[in-house]
């Protein structure tokens, strides 16, 4: 996010104060600025209606921003139609041309750019090999499965070697197993071609698997832009903490440097600097797998086990405490260990390093 570093490397996509309104009072994208560096696998992640697809469509040229500027590289492309932009899109529905063969689908963009003859043949062939559909050139799209159509859509976009490849929920229509497989494959392809990928998804696991940078969006704004691990370990807003994985949030008030006094009593220490200048009402958070069943860490809270669920790799507990119910995951690493039972009194503890601080969510809960 720091501007100096972003300027040092070449930016493929730059949005400056981009806003998109639909009609009078619908603000789909609200004053977004971001820079996507060359060669990144960048994900726009958020719930439906958060503005991620609109943002993508403004980069692609399908929607024009109400305000702000869109740059591809150094070039201001705001207002340019899609066919004048050096980007290609893999559409959610694939949008393959039903009247053309797979070969002609992939060749479509190159033909528009005047590539002919042997070069056309070679490049289309290479693109189809790259995504593993080399043998399907003569078929029509309706003769292919969903996964194969997805690959054709990818080849059709990649063959043009765009500056940026846009992917609009490309795996949304596929079943889970195929989705997992294609996630890894997309990542491999991105590695091989080295093109900047901008990927829109509402699936946090998909974003974490593939992207090296994720912008979490909510209500038309970017909540946090970071690497996946950073987003998970140090969410900066309650929305991010809740959208990526499970979080335990405890309400309290800042009472000192890295110390928060809980409403329910007791103090919690957070990692140095995690307050990020916050004061007054806040919420402290900890991930369920970072909470220990038992004392031993600097932050501790008493409670009683309310529910136990055996998941295989772990036991998941709901523990009632004065600060509310907390979720705790304990890995089943020791084969002889007996899980705690419902009703058992227990001390929960966790380290300050595992503690993050976000804005208070108490008002929102009421």
């Amino acid at each position: 996010m720091d501007g100096a570093a972003a300027n040092a490397v070449e930016a493929d996509v730059r949005l400056e104060h981009v806003t998109k309104r639909f009609g009078e009072d619908v603000v789909a994208v609200d004053d977004i600025s971001l820079t996507i560096e060359r060669g990144r696998f960048f994900a726009l992640l958020g719930p439906s209606g958060c503005g991620k697809t609109t943002t993508l469509r403004m980069i692609g040229g399908f929607d024009q921003p109400t305000g702000g500027t869109v740059y591809l590289g150094e070039r201001d492309v705001t207002g340019l139609p899609p066919y004048r932009r050096d980007v290609n899109t893999v559409f959610q529905s694939y949008a393959l041309f039903p009247h053309l063969s797979i070969y002609e689908n992939v060749a479509f963009g190159l033909r528009r750019r005047g590539v002919r003859g042997d070069e056309l043949k070679r490049r289309v062939g290479e693109a189809m090999e790259l995504v593993g559909i080399g043998s399907m050139a003569a078929r029509k799209s309706r003769q292919l499965s969903g996964g194969q159509q997805q690959r054709v859509a990818l080849a059709r976009a990649l063959v043009n070697r765009p500056r940026v490849l846009l992917l609009d929920e490309p795996l949304g229509a596929l079943d889970l197993k195929l989705r997992k497989q294609l996630q890894l494959e997309l990542k491999r392809v991105q590695h091989e071609v080295g093109i900047t990928f901008v990927h829109v998804t509402h699936d946090q696991e998909e974003a974490m698997t593939m992207a090296d940078t994720i912008a979490v969006m909510n209500e038309g704004r970017i909540e946090q832009l970071d690497a996946p691990a950073e987003l998970y370990e140090r969410p900066r807003t309650a929305f991010v903490a809740g959208f990526l994985g499970v979080s335990n949030l405890l309400q309290g008030t800042v009472s000192g440097d890295g110390v928060v006094r809980l409403d329910a009593g007791g103090e919690v220490r957070a990692a140095p600097g995690s307050l990020a200048g916050r004061s007054g009402r806040v919420a402290v958070g900890v991930r369920p797998e970072k909470v220990r069943l038992g004392a031993g860490e600097a932050n501790a809270i008493e409670g009683a086990i309310a529910e136990v669920a055996y998941i295989g790799v772990s036991n998941q507990y709901i523990v009632n405490t004065l600060a509310g119910p907390l979720t705790v995951y304990v890995q089943n690493a020791d084969p002889g260990a007996r899980p705690a039972a419902a009703g058992d009194p227990v001390t929960l503890s966790w380290s300050p390093e595992a503690t993050f601080v976000v804005e208070s969510t108490k008002e929102a809960e009421k």
Partner: protein
């Protein structure tokens, strides 16, 4: 009968009414018509076998025959030229007015065919507005007229069959996924190119259906030529009509009908071949 057996028969049972109807009101009359086409004479005199009906039909009326194909062809092309932009606009830009606009296209059907054509008689009449304007502008000479010209007949046919062209076109354009156009533009196709490479080929089933629905009845039409034209504009339909209903030469009239039917069938097969049946069946998605 077992359930499975009954289920196996269901499709045929469902087809039965349609097949029975076609047999009774299409195949049987067709058979009698064919019989008639091979006979000479009238109901009052005795019938005799006569293959000459066919050679006579072609030899005597080739002029009207060729004219029918020409008029129908021009009218179909005009209807296509007028309807495509119309249907495209309604399908793509119609928004919430779509249904109302479609209603306007169908509205003429609330008035019977004959009356509509008679209305054109008034519109194109020698002292009418259209002739007045054309004379003033100089397109028509001062004693020029529209009635009893091929222009009037073709215009009448075009007008009368326009909805048959516009509706199938509308349907085929309307169901084209807008995202395909976006995809084409994403792949560097300008608006015009996207139209030529995606919209147009995907709308061909509508073009095909529309031209058939217009051309086939137009070839056999006689009302327009009779009301808006003179004997110099008579089409094969006029000949068949007068043979059947006025002169009582059933054999010749029937033979002419079969010649027209055969010619249209052959033309349609060529047309389908040229347009590509694979495209037509595959592009509808």
């Amino acid at each position: 009968m077992t359930l499975r057996g009954r289920r196996g028969l269901t499709p045929y049972l469902l087809l039965l009414p349609g097949v029975a109807f076609l047999a009774a009101f299409f195949l049987v009359p067709l058979y009698y018509l064919f019989n008639t086409s091979l006979q000479e004479g009238t109901f009052t005199t005795t019938f005799t076998w006569a293959w000459e009906n066919y050679s006579d039909a072609i030899g005597q009326f080739d002029e009207q025959f060729v004219r029918s194909l020409k008029y129908a062809g021009i009218a179909t092309a005009l209807a296509l030229g007028i309807s495509y932009p119309l249907a495209y606009w309604i399908a793509v830009r119609g928004g919430r007015w779509k249904n109302l606009l479609l209603l306007f296209i169908i509205a003429p059907f609330f008035v019977t065919y004959l009356i509509r054509t008679l209305a054109w008689l008034t519109i194109l009449s020698d002292d009418g507005f259209v002739v007045d304007v054309l004379q003033t502008v100089g397109i028509l000479s001062d004693d020029g007229r529209l009635l009893a010209t091929s222009t009037a007949v073709v215009a009448g046919i075009t007008y009368n069959f326009l909805p048959f062209m516009a509706l199938p076109l509308y349907v085929s354009i309307e169901q084209i996924d807008g995202r395909l156009i976006e995809a084409a533009q994403d792949l560097y196709a300008s608006r015009a190119r996207a139209f030529l490479r995606v919209t147009l080929p995907l709308s061909l089933p509508g073009v095909f259906a529309g031209t058939l629905l217009t051309f086939i009845p137009a070839v056999g039409d006689f009302i327009n030529a009779q009301l808006l034209g003179a004997p110099g504009q008579y089409m094969i339909g006029n000949v068949i009509q007068s043979r059947f209903l006025q002169l009582g030469e059933y054999g010749q009239a029937a033979a002419l009908s079969f010649v027209v039917m055969g010619a249209v069938l052959v033309l349609m097969l060529i047309y389908a071949k040229v347009l590509g049946s694979e495209r037509l069946t595959g592009a509808g998605i």
